[in-house]
């Protein structure tokens, strides 16, 4: 079997940047003095020293009344109540699962905050505790909602809705959480024939479109028998490569940008989309369409 191998030399590497010429706001870097007034409150990314408020990260200033914080452009996921996240089970403990969610501490999913098969009002017995590994075991992927944020920054998740639960067949992509645009809906059934879950924590799940009526049990069904047709797999692979291209060029990810990138990528074969030139091209074309859309 002969595969086409692409080897480029370092000197003619493509620059993935698609930055537009924009007015640049003031950037603060670690150790820089923000203000010498001391009636202001210090928020995240700042600290006080010698009566001055200083920045501790590289980013932009955010001011809410007297609270000043510096927000870095890239960091670990800071959860907020109501966020939808995609995570991976790392541990099964007494009455809880530990979930890796790209946060600075592992999140917890309590046995009492999942919907067990058998309806909303089912009592959780000691037997359920023994059966926990049967529902979710180490390595399983889930989608969940943030229920609570503890003082140490760890999150408590819940899957008390049919939307959430164990993920079965699909592809996971990890990007920086800051690249996910905040919006109301996190579950997108793209018209091209696949579903995308844009987790606020930067984990993106792409799966074949499922009819929601079928899955009334919610939660723990994982249908690995079902064979996804090759066309759907190609669509999923293409979406994955498009998202990777956008993420490499640090473009925001939301349904429209993914759709645009998908349409612009049509001139390439799925595998070609992994070439750096093609990735930048797709990102640039998407960028142009988005600016057009914005200016309308």
């Amino acid at each position: 079997m002969s595969n086409k191998i692409h080897i480029g030399i370092a000197s003619d590497r493509v620059n993935p940047s698609v930055a537009l010429n924009q007015r640049v706001p003031k950037i603060y870097t670690p150790g820089e003095v923000i203000t010498e007034q001391n009636e202001l409150m210090r928020g995240h990314g700042t600290y006080e020293e010698d009566g001055c408020l200083k920045s501790s990260v590289a980013g932009l200033k955010e001011e809410v009344n007297k609270l000043i914080s510096i927000k870095p452009l890239k960091s670990r996921y800071n959860g907020e109540i109501g966020d939808v996240v995609v995570g991976r089970i790392t541990e099964v403990q007494q009455r809880r699962w530990k979930v890796e969610t790209n946060s600075r501490l592992d999140s917890v999913l309590l046995l009492s905050s999942v919907n067990l098969p058998g309806g909303e009002l089912r009592r959780r017995s000691a037997e359920d505790e023994h059966m926990m590994r049967k529902y979710l075991q180490e390595g399983d992927l889930i989608s969940a909602e943030v229920q609570n944020v503890f003082t140490d920054g760890s999150l408590s998740l819940h899957t008390r809705s049919l939307k959430y639960g164990k993920l079965s067949q699909g592809v996971l992509i990890k990007v920086f959480p800051a690249l996910i645009k905040r919006s109301k809906t996190r579950f997108h059934n793209l018209s091209v024939g696949a579903s995308v879950i844009l987790g606020n924590n930067g984990f993106i799940w792409i799966c074949p479109t499922v009819n929601t009526e079928e899955e009334s049990v919610g939660g723990f069904i994982q249908n690995l028998e079902y064979i996804v047709p090759i066309e759907e797999r190609e669509i999923i692979a293409r979406i994955r490569n498009c998202i990777l291209a956008l993420a490499q060029s640090k473009m925001m990810l939301f349904d429209t940008s993914i759709l645009f990138a998908f349409e612009e990528s049509k001139k390439y074969a799925v595998a070609e989309l992994l070439l750096p030139e093609a990735m930048v091209d797709v990102a640039l074309l998407t960028q142009q369409r988005l600016t057009l859309l914005e200016n309308q």
Partner: protein, 256 residues
């Protein structure tokens, strides 16, 4: 001419054509990898170093190490087997590498605000691709950039620089491998350049104590110069990323 070659010529130039107070060319890049939370690449002259930062994340492995009031910082220094003129047997784990890891950790701990991340762990991996003198300073500088890229709070930049004494009189900054070999004591310091705090100082060989203040001042000046270069790189990186994302997810509303 004496047995020992002069490190600074009569017209004030060093072996590689620099003046005594000139740094080698510094080139750096942030965000070179996609997998780690932060990464950076730095070139100081021919010394090339890659750094990657993972975390803060849940403590893996030995859970009892987790601390309730601060994050654990874990440093690993390694040198690629092809980085020196003689091929190295093992990239890490030898005495020199472990010592470097400890020194790196000491310098970085002085700046990282670990108290913000209880029960967490921060991993810093540094790999030398090409060693040409000043390996430790390059590693510290690369690690600083990677930490900033990862969005981990720092009190300020940590910069490191080496200095030496030429012809038993002239202090010179940023020592290359050639100059290290030709002799002359090397003083390496890691400092917080804005508050002028020295967080690590190391010296090979010795010179008269009268020379110490001026050599140290030279090294500190070198740290400050490096800080300016790093700061510029950080700003241009943030600008580049910000313009690509259109500054969304920030409170700034900017029109094209």
């Amino acid at each position: 001419m004496s047995k020992k070659k002069e490190l600074v010529s009569k017209i004030g130039l060093r072996l590689d054509g620099r003046r005594a107070d000139e740094l080698r060319r510094v080139r750096c890049k942030m965000g070179v990898f996609s997998q780690p939370d932060g990464s950076a690449y730095i070139e100081q002259g021919l010394t090339k170093v890659l750094a990657a930062v993972y975390g803060p994340h849940q403590v893996r492995g030995n859970r009892s190490k987790a601390q309730h009031d601060s994050a654990i910082v874990n440093c690993q220094f390694s040198m690629a087997v092809f980085s020196t003129s003689e091929r190295k047997k093992r990239p890490r784990g030898d005495r020199k590498s472990s010592e470097m890891s400890i020194h790196l950790r000491q310098a970085l701990l002085a700046a990282i605000k670990v108290e913000l991340y209880p029960w967490s762990q921060i991993d810093i991996y540094v790999e030398v691709l090409h060693a040409d003198g000043g390996v430790y300073p390059a590693c510290v500088n690369a690690a600083t950039l990677a930490l900033i890229d990862a969005g981990i709070p720092l009190k300020e930049y940590v910069c490191a620089c080496s200095a030496s004494l030429a012809n038993n009189d002239i202090p010179m900054v940023d020592i290359s491998h050639q100059e290290e070999m030709l002799g002359g004591p090397t003083l390496t310091i890691a400092a917080l350049p804005m508050s002028e705090k020295i967080v690590l100082m190391e010296m090979s060989q010795r010179f008269h104590i009268d020379h110490l203040p001026k050599v140290m001042a030279k090294a500190l000046k070198g740290c400050k110069d490096i800080k300016v270069i790093l700061d510029e790189a950080v700003r241009s990186h943030v600008e580049d990323v910000g313009c690509s994302t259109g500054w969304s997810n920030t409170s700034q509303k900017i029109k094209v």
